[in-house]
Structures are given as C-alpha cells and as structure tokens.
Amino acid sequence: MRALYLALLLAPAVSFGADAPPKVSAQQFVNLQQGDSAFPGFRRAHAKGICISGEFQANGQLADYSQASLFKAGSTAFIGRLSIAGNNPTAPDLKAPVRSMALSFASSRTEQWRLAMNTPPVMAVADPHTFYQQIQAIQAGPAAIKQFFADHPESDEFRAWAAQYQPSGSFAAETYHSINAFYLINADGKQQAVRWAMQPTVAVAANASDEADALQQEIAARVAAGKVVFDWVFTLADAADDETNPTKAWPDSRQQITAGQLVVTGTTPQLEGDCHAINFDPLVLPSGIAATRDPILRARSAAYAESYRRRAKEQLQGALEGSNNE
C-alpha cells in the first residue's frame, strides 16, 4: 500500500515529454474559472441556471448492458439543472456559447448518479492541462483563441461543430452530450464503452428576446404549459473507437440504443430549488456504470470538489442570505 502511495506521490514529478503542457492543480483551475471577482455562493463554472425536476421513464432496452436500476423498465425521479457556460450568475442567457443539462438520480441511499452534459459533442482538447490553456486563450480574446486552435489540431472536430451550431430558442430544443465516455457493466460483468445524449423532441427557432433571463423564462413557461421530453440515446463504441479521447466523435454507423425518455415536469429558480445544493460531479456513479480513463473525465472530481467546497463554505458563512435568483 505504502509503495503505491509513494509511486503516486512521485507521479506528478514525472515529465511526459517536452511539449506536454505544465501541470495545473484543481485550485489553479478553479481560480481561472472564477476569474478576478468570484460570485460568492455560486458555482465557479456554469453559475447561472434553473432547477428542473421530473422523471426518467426507462423502456428496459439498456438493462442487458448495465445493472444500474434506473435502466430497468419503469420510472426514476430526478432533480436537474439547465445552465449556461460562464462564471457569472447574472449573465445574459442568449450570449453564452454553451448550454448544459445536469441530472441527479438518487435511486437509493447507496445508488446515486450525477450527470453533467453540454451542447458540444466533443471537447476541443484531450487533457485538463491543455484545457486550462484553452480557457486562458478564451479569456485573452479572439486572436489568442485563434492561435490556440491553430496550435491544437485535435480541436478540429470541436471547431467543425462550433462552426455549424445554431443555438435554438429553448433549453428544450438542445441536444446535451455526455462528451466523455463511460462503461456500462452488466450483471455478468461485461463492459461496454458508451457515450450518450439527451435528444430534444421539439424544435424551437432562435430566441429574439433581449431579456437576460430569456432561456429561463422560456423553459419555465414551456414546462408550466406541459411536459418537456428528451430521448436518452446511448451510442455503443466499437473496438476501433478510443473511449479515452474526448476530442473524437464516434462514427454515425455505431449502434444506438434509446434507453427511455427524460420527462421534465417542473422548474424552480435555482436558489429556491433543490439543484443548487448539488455538486453534479459526473464521477458519482451507480453500480453498473464506471469511468473510463479519459483524462478530462478523470480531472472532473477534483475540480468540481474545489468549486463545491468554495461555494459551500461561502454559503455557510451567509453569502446567499437575502439574495434572490439574480
């Protein structure tokens, strides 16, 4: 045991080649995300969002691939969050380049699952240290990000997606991707690499509103008028696919399985809802789902934990008292 820990202690000191980016810590990462003036009590990334609730109605199609209880035919309640990228909890919804859906299934006291999904299907980079440089470039401006992409050809697929992406007028009309791959593990212990997406069942034209909360108002009104439904579609990797590389999409010819439908029946402003307290760390997994060795996925726990610790401490110290959902 001690030898293992010693090896782990030394691991960060080992250099992985001349062009490897400098290693950053979770604290450096979250410092960069929150910027010079953090918003106390709020998430350091995707600070602005709205709580959603509803249930996942499984059709049983995925039950042979994973022993996770929520894939058995039947319903499982969820608490979730629809959000926009950025560290500002008052930012205008329609200006954000990325929209997100996060879900929490508390199937039982011992089986819980958190999911964090974004509109892009792939990452621009394949490891957290290069991702840090990408965020630095984004913060430095258009010339810097252009240069960054030129220096990082692995961002090709991400850029191709960004070039053709047309934001819809609603959180309900977006496709939300797992981006990182996971393993489904069935009762026999058989492992299958998958990615998944929440696919919309409505199309909504671009939103012309000039309200900062345009998307939140739209989704609240839409859910109040009737349920909002997504198809939960899994894509199964082939032996040729690299499940550890989040910059490369898998071919369209790969087998897809729809596990059921996600039905959203409620929305609540985030500071009044149950979603605000949750750390949507996608490495909180139930039996039957496991993390791949994707370096971006593996970096999430520590970074999410640092953001969560900061805002939880601020909230304990009264940061959000008297605040509305601004």
């Binding site: 960060p12 979770a26 011992t110 240290h129 909180v284 909230q315």
Partner: protein
C-alpha cells in the same frame, strides 16, 4: 528493559500499523484535493475505503489499550511534559475517530455513497444538504491540519526522549 517497561505486542502492532495507514491517508488526502491526474479518482476511492478500515482499527485499538497496562513515563519527567504527553495522546485518539467520521459525514451530506473495495456501499443522504456538507468538509480540513501538527509533535517528542533525554520512551514502542 523489562516487559513492564514496554508496550504490549498488540499495542505496538496497532501503533505502527496505524502509523503507516494514517501517514498514507494524509498523503493521499493532500494529493487528491489538488491533483487533476487520471489516478486522482482511484486515489480518492482508496482514501474513502481505507477511512472505514481506519475507524474500525481505532475502535479495536482503543479497546485493546484500555485492557492493557501502559509503561509509566520516566519519574523525573517534568509535570508539564507528562500532562502534554497524556493530552496529546488523547487528542490523537480523538482525531483518529473524528477524521474518518467527518470524512464520511461530508460525503453523506453531499449525497455521495462510498464504495468499499467493491464489496458494499455506505449510504448517503437522498437529499443533499450543502450546509452540513460545508461544515463537515471544513472540519475535515482543519482537523487534518491539527492531526499533522500533532503527529509532528509526537515524532519530535519521541526523538527528544531518545536522543536528548536518552530514556526508554521510544524503545518502549519498538
């Protein structure tokens, strides 16, 4: 030295076994809260699972200690040093219980079930409570600082007894 001047074999085994475990846990804890490397998740899961081992061991260790006679401290030791020695040992015991307990409670209130070596899972709250999470998270952090300080004091005192006072205190645990 006679047998009554030495800790019993079971107490010495508990002491050195837990010393290795606690130092590993502290190193793992400090690494895993900062590292973005792919092994971080593995280390995190090992840390949590060994926290359960630690609390079971310290329970057994406390029972074992209460059943044994301890070697006396050197008679000529100043009264204040004896007091500090006793107080620091009970503080260490307190922290050996409080560290795994606070670690578990912060996971519990964050809604994160803990997988124990793939055998079973410790339950977590169905509804996350961020206030209790924050409380136990900060306690876990501050108590880790206290534990590291006490271990440094403990090692320093053992070396002081052995090399400066040249008494049998360190040898009684070897």
């Amino acid at each position: 030295m006679s047998n009554s001047d030495r800790f019993s074999l079971s107490m010495r085994l508990f002491h050195w076994g837990m010393a290795a475990l606690v130092l590993s846990m502290v190193a793992a804890g400090l690494l895993m809260v900062t590292s973005l490397q792919p092994w971080q998740l593995t280390l995190l899961n090992i840390h949590k699972a060994f926290g359960v081992v630690a609390i079971l061991l310290v329970m057994a260790r406390l029972i074992n200690r209460l059943r044994h006679k301890l070697p006396a401290l050197p008679h000529e030791l100043p009264h204040w040093q004896k007091t500090v020695a006793r107080a620091s040992h009970w503080m260490l015991y307190f922290l050996l219980f409080a560290m795994p307990l606070s670690g578990y409670l912060m996971q519990y209130y964050a809604g994160r079930p803990i997988d124990i070596f793939g055998w079973f899972r410790l339950p977590a709250a169905l509804q996350v409570d961020i206030h209790y999470y924050a409380l136990f998270r900060e306690l876990h952090g501050w108590m880790a600082v206290a534990l590291i300080s006490l271990i440094a004091l403990h090692i320093g005192a053992a070396l002081y007894h052995h090399f400066i006072r040249k008494d049998d205190v360190l040898k009684s645990m070897l």
